[in-house]
């Protein structure tokens, strides 16, 4: 119950942003919401099931291109976005069958390779996707402010939806089973957990929202290129965010997304040519000096608000 309340409050607070900031702030807000979706998505497979997936970029890119292609054939936006999620989900189910039997690093590499292959596939099908030339999407006929708000609220709604899914999953049999798998898959199997089915479900969950985020993103920037939407950073950053905020928790990914984007923005503003190094420095300091610090801090704070998993 507390989770739901928190989510509601958070969503309400975020809906007030347009009153407080200009379009650029809204753009930042949209980016935070987008990364919150991606981090939350990654958390299903990476945090709960413990499978270090780098496929987020693949899902995101697939969603972006699916929606872009549909839109270019004149499909309505809502349909295109939904279809993007469906496509990513279907793809995850198929590819999951092939790579979810791998463990640890091997799974990580395989999931990374999936994104690379997809990117190259897009690159080499210029007739459908424009290949290396990229793809234009119709520009919505909206004023600057209206467009900014539309995409902000779309992304925010998706983030809320993803978080709602996370809450539901965390308290369900599925979430419990995933935690078991994460800690000891053999033992989980022997206790009757359909590990393969559960993992696939988690993988699909992590795909569907990431795919939709890609779709919204594509409409938002209305020009996409393979290197942008299959960018490996789209897979790495959500992971850093989840680690920052607290792995396996409901609100950790959101906190992490907010913190990392905020850090990036700050560093980026203040240091022109060394912002990459500064960001690296922040990451190093976080990992070295507060490996549990920030994580545990957030967690213990959350633990007080939220009973973890099936506790009496």
């Amino acid at each position: 119950m507390r989770d739901w309340l928190l989510l509601l409050l958070l969503a309400l607070a975020c809906s007030l942003l347009p009153l407080a900031g200009d379009n650029y702030v809204l753009r930042l807000g949209t980016i935070v919401a987008m990364y919150a979706v991606l981090a939350q998505s990654w958390n299903f497979i990476g945090g709960l099931a413990g499978y270090p997936s780098f496929a987020t970029a693949a899902f995101f890119g697939l969603g972006a291109y699916t929606s872009a292609v549909l839109l270019s054939y004149g499909a309505p936006t809502g349909l295109a976005w939904t279809a993007a999620g469906g496509m990513a989900c279907l793809f995850a189910a198929l590819i999951g069958g092939a790579i979810l039997h791998l463990k640890g690093h091997y799974f990580a590499i395989a999931s990374l390779a999936v994104g690379e292959v997809l990117r190259e596939v897009v690159n080499t099908t210029p007739d459908l996707t424009g290949g290396g030339m990229g793809m234009n999407l119709p520009v919505p006929k909206l004023s600057v402010a209206a467009a900014a708000q539309t995409f902000y609220f779309s992304m925010l709604a998706l983030a809320a939806l993803t978080t709602a899914a996370a809450i539901i999953v965390q308290r369900s049999r599925l979430g419990f089973g995933l935690r078991c798998i994460q800690q000891n898959e053999d033992a989980a199997n022997i206790l009757g957990v359909n590990a393969y089915g559960y993992k696939t479900a988690a993988f699909c969950l992590s795909a569907v929202f990431a795919g939709m985020a890609g779709a919204i993103y594509a409409s938002w920037v209305h020009y996409i290129e393979p290197p942008d939407v299959f960018d490996i950073l789209l897979a790495v950053k959500p992971l850093v965010m989840v680690l920052l905020g607290g792995i396996g928790t409901v609100f950790g990914p959101i906190i992490g997304a907010f913190l990392l984007i905020a850090f990036e923005e700050l560093v980026w503003r203040s240091f022109l040519t060394i912002h990459a190094a500064m960001l690296g420095g922040i990451i190093v300091v976080l990992v070295l000096f507060m490996p549990n610090g920030l994580l545990a801090l957030v967690r213990s704070g959350l633990a007080r608000l939220r009973p973890a998993g099936p506790k009496p």
Binding site: D22, I31, N123, M133, V144, Y217, Y223, P227, L233, A276
Partner: protein, 373 residues
């Protein structure tokens, strides 16, 4: 004192950083020269130029984000588009919506300007203006050149050049014996070159970034592929190319939108091309290349438009740009209906004696085109 703010999203880090740094040099030279001359006069009042640089780390989505930030947060009056066609295309959507005049110094693909935008102007002519004179020179110069092999990087500009080359070659009755694309991030071209060797081309046309072209040149030598004509775009215009390939750079031909050997007498703050070259060499100790010149020209053109409009009002400056018809150190400047410059005649050049020399157009020609054996 009052300032005019020009926002410049640049790839100062990441894969495109060499390009970003070049552009920055051009912009800086313009801004310093303008400020040294007392700034830009707008309706009699002098304004200082301030360029707000933001690095977008060679990441297009970031470039778009930066464009919006420069407009809304930094209150830039005008914008220089980010590097290259892809990013310029993506970012121009933002400036269009805010109605901010934007000059793209390094975007040549037609697709960038075909979007029906009113506030975007570009200082590079369309890609075919590079290809057509080349095919003309080669096909006229040596009728024995019949077989063309094309090796292109699978990227917006480089691929577009290769496609144009393929079409132009066919139109001139040449036989395209090989047309291959290589992926971004290819670390080895040996097999493509083996294939090239098998195709026995008279003319090899390769596109890519400077590192690709250095590698391709080296590996062609490794396998003894030495066609009569070797054209590479866009590396040879840069000093790094000749430095890195040494004697192998000899006779490599190329084309670009500008070359320091061109001679124009402009009405802009630099005046003549020679004066610009001299100012650039004084500041940076090197001869400017086309990207650097184009960036400086973007500034000069913006300045002329502002002075003409006599106001900082974006719509008025935009109209001044659209109506512009004059000569700068960079060349004659007149923008077509899409906003892309139409008045330039890009030079063809060739590395001879370790230096790029212009072989076309006739007006600025320094030497004849040399064919290999």
């Amino acid at each position: 004192q009052d300032v005019i703010k020009v926002g410049a999203p640049l790839p100062l880090t990441g894969a495109l950083s060499p390009e970003g740094l070049k552009q920055q040099r051009g912009y800086n030279l313009w801004a310093e020269t303008a400020n040294a001359a007392g700034g830009i006069k707008v309706g009699g009042k002098p304004y200082k130029v301030e360029i707000v640089y933001v690095d977008y780390a060679s990441n297009t989505p970031r470039a778009v984000q930066v464009a919006e930030r420069l407009i809304t947060e930094d209150k830039a009056n005008f914008l220089f588009a980010p590097f290259g066609s892809g990013a310029a295309k993506a970012a121009s959507g933002v400036s269009e919506r805010y109605g901010i005049p934007t000059i793209a110094a390094t975007a040549s693909s037609r697709e960038v300007y075909d979007q029906g935008y009113k506030f975007l102007f570009g200082t590079f002519t369309p890609n075919e203006t590079l290809i057509d004179p080349l095919t003309e020179i080669v096909s006229k110069g040596d009728p024995a050149v019949k077989r063309v092999a094309i090796l292109a990087r699978n990227d917006l500009l480089t691929l577009s050049l290769a496609n144009l080359m393929q079409a132009a070659a066919k139109a001139k009755g040449l036989e395209v014996v090989m047309m291959e694309r290589y992926a971004i991030g290819t670390m080895d071209h040996a097999s493509a070159i083996t294939q090239m060797r098998g195709a026995k081309p008279d003319w090899v046309f390769a596109t890519g970034y400077i590192n690709d072209l250095i590698l391709i040149r080296k590996q062609m030598a490794d396998q003894g592929v030495s066609p009569k004509v070797l054209t590479m775009i866009a590396g040879p215009a840069y000093k790094e190319f000749t430095e890195a390939t040494g004697p192998l750079a000899e006779n490599v031909s190329s084309a670009s939108w500008w070359h320091p050997a061109v001679r124009y007498k402009g009405v802009d703050l630099f005046g003549t091309t020679e004066a610009f070259n001299a100012a650039f060499e004084k500041k940076y100790n090197v001869v400017p290349d086309y990207a650097e010149a184009s960036a400086a020209a973007a500034g000069a053109i913006l300045q002329l438009a502002i002075e003409k409009a006599g106001t900082l009002d974006p719509a008025k400056v935009r109209d001044a740009l659209a109506a512009m018809d004059l000569v700068t150190f960079y060349g004659p400047v007149k923008f077509g209906p899409t906003g892309q410059i139409t008045s330039l005649e890009p030079p063809v050049f060739q590395i001879q004696g370790g230096k790029p020399v212009v072989v076309f157009p006739a007006a600025v020609k320094q030497a004849d085109f040399i064919f290999g054996k």
